[in-house]
Amino acid sequence: MTATATRPDPAPAAAAQPPARRLPGSADTRRRIGVWLIVLVLLYLVGVPLYRLQELAMADGGAGYSRMLDNPDFTRLVLRTVYLAVGSVVVAMVLGTLLAYAASRLPPRAGILRTVPILPIVLPAIAAVVGWAFLLSPGPGYLNAAMRKLPWWSDLDTGPVNVYSMPWIVLITGFGLTSFVYLFVSAGLANISVDHLEAAQVAGSSGAGVFFRVVLPLLRPSLIYGAGVALLLGLGQFTAPLLLGTKEGIRVLTSEMYFATASSPIDFAKAAALGSPLLVFGVLIVLAQKLGIGDQRRFVTHGGKGAVRRQRPARWAVVVIAVYGLVAVVLPLAGLVAVALSPYWSSTLDPSTFTLDNFRTVLDNPAIIESVTTSLLASVAAVAVVLPLGYVAAIVLLGDRFRVARALLDFLVALPLGVPAVIFGAGFLLTYTKEPFVLYGSTWVIVLVYATLMVPFATRMMMNGMLALGTSYQEASWVSGAGRLVTHARIMLPLLRGSIGGAVALMFVLLTHEFSASMLVRSPTTQVMGTIVYDFWSNGSYPTVAAVSLLMTLVTGAGVGLAMTLGGRDVLSKL
């Protein structure tokens, strides 16, 4: 090839092009309008229900608040809520930190065990709670019955454990929160170089010494952050207090709020007022977190993975995680299976009577089948709504323009994580039972509340995907002459398909067993799986409860399998 042949021709097209300008009406303005449109959509989804709650609580000169305060038990209600939150956080912090450290020392072949501590998030909470009740209910609880066989408890007729009591509600809630602490602490551990730990060992520290003198102090930021998140979640806990506390009249703010909307005398204003303390606390925490952590892009430097050298594997780590998995996951599921296979729930377990009748009953019950369909449809629709929203929100949040819109968006996107789902449910109930959109009784209100609850997850997972990709792939496309839309269609979406697939599957999992918000927005004719389980529980149809719970768990399991296929084995830790 000669120089003259390869010397490129001058590009006449480029020279003749008039300069494109950034003027009003051009792409820039369109982009600005688009960004504000997203902010407005989210403001409507997230903000209006919360605003409606306050409006109602304040109506008639704060009648809702005065009725709430008139209750002589109000102080005890608040104290019990705090007790539940703090107690379960303590359980979760101890277990979560221990499990995270154990997971970091698992032998490579036992790597799959790292997923075990996350399972309680993806298992339906209601199934776990019901499973525990089947095991530890004072009368017919299987474990209680077994313990009464022991000589020192042989004189008891019930117990020794009463799962319908505050300490057990705290403990079972703590198991659920453990997963969250585990996720935060694991992330923190990943940032500690093994060199620090080996240096301590070489300097003469024992294994436990390394843990207490080096690991824990280095983990302090993750521990504080994890404790904050767990506290927030603990205050908003609803499932265990509702299912286990009701029998003995143990109520917390969330369940009291639910009863104010569901049993007579129905008092929406009081329900709204009851939500306020948690709402305010949630908003404050989100604000504090935004101000404290600030710019998400600061964390880009953590992206580099490199060769991760792991600490020496330890056998005790396998034991710790296996025992935890056995207690927190396998035991309650075993309780469910036992009751689901028995004709009725009694303290004696007789395998010879095992039958599949309960499953047949479930499959023959049109209301249950409909609730399954509704759950699946609402989850799929909500994911379809929230995914594009999260994608666009992630683009805006990772950009460096539109400061005001970005700050607002950042706050709105985080809010559904800070404010308990029950409160969102109440807000949606109050917003969509009146003009302009009367959606109560239809699947649509469920879709909307589900989409809103998933906004933080969708956005965060899209942001993580984009951060991991970095900016140069899109910049290379722009410089090659492709516009924004073409770049998203041809470069970003194909490259993000793993993240998107993982996000879809995970949100699907979280939504199919959503319980708290569903309890408030459901109507007698529009039920989802979780709410119908509660109804059968209240009626005492325990074998049906067990069978439906298992069905939920199966749906979830399929979703988790899909998530891990699409998003990789560690997809669960991206929550």
């Binding site: 480029a14 300069p19 494109a20 140069s472 910049e475 290379a476 410089v479 041809r490």
Partner: protein, 378 residues
């Protein structure tokens, strides 16, 4: 192809009172020229490149490609990257992993709807030019670092852009490969004659590739000239240090006599108007002798003590301390002065007059060579 004019360009990442990353920058890149932007990290070289690409919006100034204005702050013109008709090679290559090499290279033609290029096989031509024809149906993940770099280069040049931009494209390659690709890039530029801006922090790369090189410091051009000029006649103390004149001696004047804080005095032919000067030299140009030896005509001798000697194969590197001055380094051929260059020895470090460059002690600007000492005596 076009020439590129940058004038009065500024870029601040914060508000209008924040520190400028690019500070009132003027540069002209001639048609077909390869200009290297060289500087320490944070000097604004990559930001300048990204402003040229349209990936970063400057705060003030203008940029034009030929007579086409692509950025003008006062007229609110800012042509987006996709409409600028540039090609760019990224430090990380940024080859899209979900596309084959052929699709990667063809992408600029496809999204610009360049029918001529697609019809006439520009993709294959570009691949042939960088010796990658046999890789067209592979995916980027199946290529080695050097191959990826070549494909990225082909993608940059395939649509025959007005301007090629290189953002430290060789820094992720290992040393041997870097030299090879550098040579190939030089040949490719000779062959195609594209206008290009090449960002690097490696002075060897800059010397080898640039038709001219601009040394940036704090967002301003410290010197912009042909590599040989920069190497031989650095315009300022900063440039001199940056391109390897590591040894420096500060001289202050009292009347006609220049003296060094360590005690050496010398007579230098430097015009009045300079009260203090920094004399600079490369470590391989100094001569180390036993202490106390008298200075020969045409050199400056500084008394020093050797603190450390590092063996380097064909040479040894000696570090020496000077009383009242910054430490000096000398690179001495093995066998030449081993008796003298030993830790703890008192030595005389001689600066031959034709090898030193002199800079004003206050402004850091070079003192013109004609003003430099024709005769130095201790």
């Amino acid at each position: 192809m076009a020439d590129v004019t940058i004038s009065a360009l500024s870029k601040r990442f914060g508000g209008s009172d924040s520190e400028a990353v690019i500070d009132d920058l003027d540069l002209h890149i001639q048609e077909g020229e390869l200009l290297v932007l060289l500087g320490a990290s944070g000097c604004g070289k990559t930001t300048t490149l990204r402003c040229l690409a349209g990936l970063e919006s400057p705060s003030e100034g203008t940029i034009s490609f030929g007579d086409r204005v692509v950025y003008d702050a006062s007229r609110r013109v800012d042509v987006p990257a996709e409409k600028r008709n540039v090609g760019m090679v990224f430090q990380s290559y940024a080859l899209w992993p979900h596309m084959t090499v052929r699709k990667n290279i063809g992408y600029p033609l496809k999204v610009r709807r360049n029918k001529e290029g697609l019809r006439d096989g520009w993709v294959e031509k570009a691949a042939a030019m960088v010796d990658c024809s046999h890789l067209l149906d592979r995916y980027p993940g199946q290529l080695s670092g050097g191959q990826q770099q070549r494909v990225a280069l082909a993608r940059g040049i395939v649509s025959r852009p007005d301007l090629m931009l290189f953002d430290e494209p060789l820094s992720n390659l290992d040393a041997q490969l870097r030299e090879l690709v550098r040579t190939e890039l030089h040949a490719l530029h000779r062959q195609m004659g594209f206008t290009a801006v090449f960002v690097t922090h490696d002075q060897d790369e800059a010397l080898a590739l640039g038709d001219r090189m601009a040394i940036l410091r704090g967002g301003r051009v410290e010197q912009c000239a042909a590599p040989r000029t920069v190497f031989e006649d650095p315009a300022s103390d900063y440039v001199a240090e940056f391109i390897g004149m590591a040894d420096t001696v500060r001289l202050t004047r009292s009347d006609t006599v220049w003296s060094h804080a360590g005690g050496t005095t010398a007579t230098l032919d430097i015009p009045r108007g300079h009260d203090a000067v920094d004399v600079r030299i490369r470590p391989d140009d100094v001569q180390v002798r036993a202490g106390g030896a008298p200075a020969r005509p045409g050199e400056l001798v500084v008394e020093a003590v050797v603190t450390d000697v590092v063996y380097g194969g064909r040479h040894v590197d000696a570090t020496m301390t000077v009383e009242g001055g910054s430490p000096l380094r000398a690179r001495v051929p093995v066998g030449a002065a081993e008796a003298v260059v030993a830790p703890g020895e008192r030595v005389g470090v001689a600066f031959p007059a034709d090898k030193v460059r002199v800079f004003d002690g206050v402004t850091g600007q070079a003192v013109a060579r004609t003003e430099q000492p024709a005769r130095v005596s201790a």
